[in-house]
């Protein structure tokens, strides 16, 4: 099954009731799977919107009613969705947004890239807000992350972004779904469905009172702090005795893992740190690794974005080298192995 289809199936099984999409490569299989499957489920809806902006605003409307709603796109389309994501964040409405990212800037290319790290982890739209960002690196992980995304977004009332890329979306791998689709999609108790038996309510983000808006920002901030404490996750691969630790995420981590396995076979003590939540970033977990070594190689399929979080986490104590390939160029494991080997010897870690 392709990664895109796996997300769609996992979303249906997570009780996603509403999907709103717009065609863009390389995520079309997701929209098409929803058109074929979600639209036929009782009580569920699929709309091919007239634009990414319309699609995210449909998600906003559906989420208001308490339904589980999602949209998906790829980099240029995610830029258009930022308006709606900011409103979702301000109104504290759950939503799942999938970005099968591609090379940029501009129209860029349709090949896999990781250049939307900043956009995903720094809010992306206007205003002082964050989204939860999950970064899977296999088709199985895409399916698992989708289920987790719906749980997290409902629990914290914060939009969740699943940051994949064109390669993850298009690749085919076996996948096991751990949940059955509910017969009736769940509806949040606090949804707006008409003021029956209760006073009318409204949801808004605008206020003419700065003190009220400040309070909203504090509310969000406190929840973001709670998230940092409770929901950061990462994978540490062969880090126990490593003299050099590669930091990478998503499909980049998968390429790095191949390189590290080969480096180990050649006797080099190399490990990998991979955040599976890009925001909140697992900075404590990374900082702990700097007890054992100071040497880090940050590898990304961009010109260096996550490296900012790596440096912040290490609090200036790490010796961090960067290697990246931007624009949709996909480096091979042997290319990364060459970089690892050179750095390993340069830093005198072989002695």
């Amino acid at each position: 099954m392709t990664g895109n289809a796996a997300i769609a199936e996992a979303a249906i099984r997570a009780g996603c009731q509403c999907y709103f999409g717009y065609p863009i490569t390389p995520q079309n299989e997701l929209t098409e799977y929803m058109a074929a499957n979600l639209s036929r489920r009782p009580g569920c809806t699929f709309v091919q919107a007239e634009s990414e902006i319309a699609a995210i605003n449909m998600v906003y409307g559906a989420s208001v009613t308490g339904a589980r709603a999602m949209t998906s796109s790829s980099s240029p389309g995610i830029s258009l969705k930022q308006e709606g994501i900011s409103y979702l964040a301000a109104c504290q409405l759950p939503a799942v947004i999938v970005n099968m990212s591609r090379g940029g800037p501009g129209l860029g290319s349709i090949a896999a890239a990781q250049s939307d790290y900043f956009q995903s982890t720094r809010g992306g739209g206007h205003g002082d807000y964050r989204t939860i960002v999950l970064a899977p690196s296999s088709v199985q992980e895409l399916a698992d992350a989708t289920h987790r995304a719906f749980e997290l977004t409902d629990k914290y009332s914060i939009p969740v972004i699943i940051l994949g890329d064109g390669m993850l979306g298009q690749m085919m791998e076996p996948v096991e779904f751990k949940h059955e689709a509910p017969a009736v999609p769940p509806v949040r108790a606090n949804g707006l469905r008409g003021a029956k038996g209760r006073p009318s309510r409204f949801i808004r983000s605008f206020t003419s009172n700065p003190a009220e808006l400040e309070e909203l920002n504090w509310n969000l901030y406190r929840r973001y702090q709670q998230l940092q404490e409770e929901e950061t996750t990462c994978e540490c691969f062969m880090t126990e005795d490593a003299g050099l630790i590669v930091t990478a995420f998503g499909v980049g981590a998968r390429i790095a893992k191949g390189a590290i396995t080969n480096a180990r076979a050649q006797g080099m003590k190399v490990g990998m740190f991979r955040p599976t939540t890009l925001w909140p970033f697992p900075k404590e977990q990374l900082k702990a690794l700097s007890q054992n070594t100071q040497y880090f190689l940050d590898f990304e399929m961009n010109m260096g974005q996550m490296i900012d979080d790596v440096n912040l986490s290490l609090e200036g104590k790490g010796d961090v080298t960067f290697y990246g390939r931007p624009g949709g160029v996909i480096p091979t494991s042997s290319e990364v192995l060459r970089v690892i080997t050179r750095l390993y010897y340069q830093k005198g870690l072989n002695s």
Partner: protein
């Protein structure tokens, strides 16, 4: 003594913040009267826009969700698709519905979304201080057309209702005005029909309401009522534009 006129149940007991002579408060009241008469207060969800009516939720006693500028049709689509039992209406100005949200409006209509759009046309961006709108009259002076709207550079006033009338999914489009007691009564009939269409599952209904903005037009209230009659409604003729419902007014 018998009480023959009272505040509608769906209208909160609050003082409107609108300028003297503004059409919003009249239109709010008309919508609330219709909601009461159709007995749909407990299942109505309103979608107010940014703009002068951004605080509509202080007046409407129904569930409301504030939309981003121009996205009312998309938000209403999401609500209605997720919860078809709800009666969903968007409340949008001319900049909102005919400029930034023209695409969302056109495509919601084309899909035949079973929603009701209330379109307030006062020929200016009101809240932001009276800039030129897509519906600003030719020659009309605004803060961004200080020498008068020049069609050579600014285009002509756009007739959004006529455009929506061309779209198959739209079942009912009518243009009314709130510049006289007689026109206000006609406006209410149109609003009621637009809501009744949704209850009957007929599809997309649009009611355009020519509405005075004395403050930004720099006129008195009476003068602005007259301007709607003498100038605006010459370019935007009042009356039925499309009706495929096979029904006359709901009452």
């Amino acid at each position: 003594m018998e009480k023959i006129f009272t505040r509608p149940k769906s209208l909160k007991n609050a003082v409107f913040h609108y300028c003297p002579g503004c059409g919003h408060s009249v239109i709010h009241r008309l919508i609330c009267e219709v909601i009461d008469e159709l007995n749909i207060q407990d299942k109505t969800i309103g979608v107010p826009p940014p703009g002068c009516s951004v605080f509509a939720y202080y007046y409407f006693d129904v569930d409301m969700i504030e939309s981003a500028h121009g996205r009312g049709a998309a938000v209403a689509t999401g609500i209605k698709r997720a919860n078809p039992e709800a009666i969903v209406f968007s409340y949008q100005g001319d900049g909102d519905l005919a400029a930034i949200g023209a695409g969302e409006t056109l495509h919601a209509a084309n899909r035949g979304e079973n929603i009701t759009a209330i379109f307030i046309n006062n020929a200016v961006y009101g809240m932001t201080g009276g800039q030129m709108a897509p519906t600003t009259m030719v020659g009309m002076k605004t803060t961004t057309s200080p020498y008068g709207r020049d069609p050579q550079f600014d285009g002509h006033p756009i007739k959004m209702s006529e455009i929506i009338g061309q779209v198959e999914g739209a079942c009912y489009v009518e243009r009314v005005a709130v510049n006289s007691p007689a026109n206000i009564r006609k406006a209410k009939k149109a609003i009621k029909k637009a809501f009744q269409n949704q209850i009957d599952g007929k599809g997309y209904s649009l009611v355009e309401i020519l509405s005075p903005c004395p403050t930004n037009w720099k006129m008195g209230s009476i003068e602005s009522w007259k301007w709607v009659e003498d100038v605006m409604s010459k370019k935007f003729p009042l009356g039925l534009i499309k009706d495929t419902t096979g029904k006359t007014h709901a009452d």
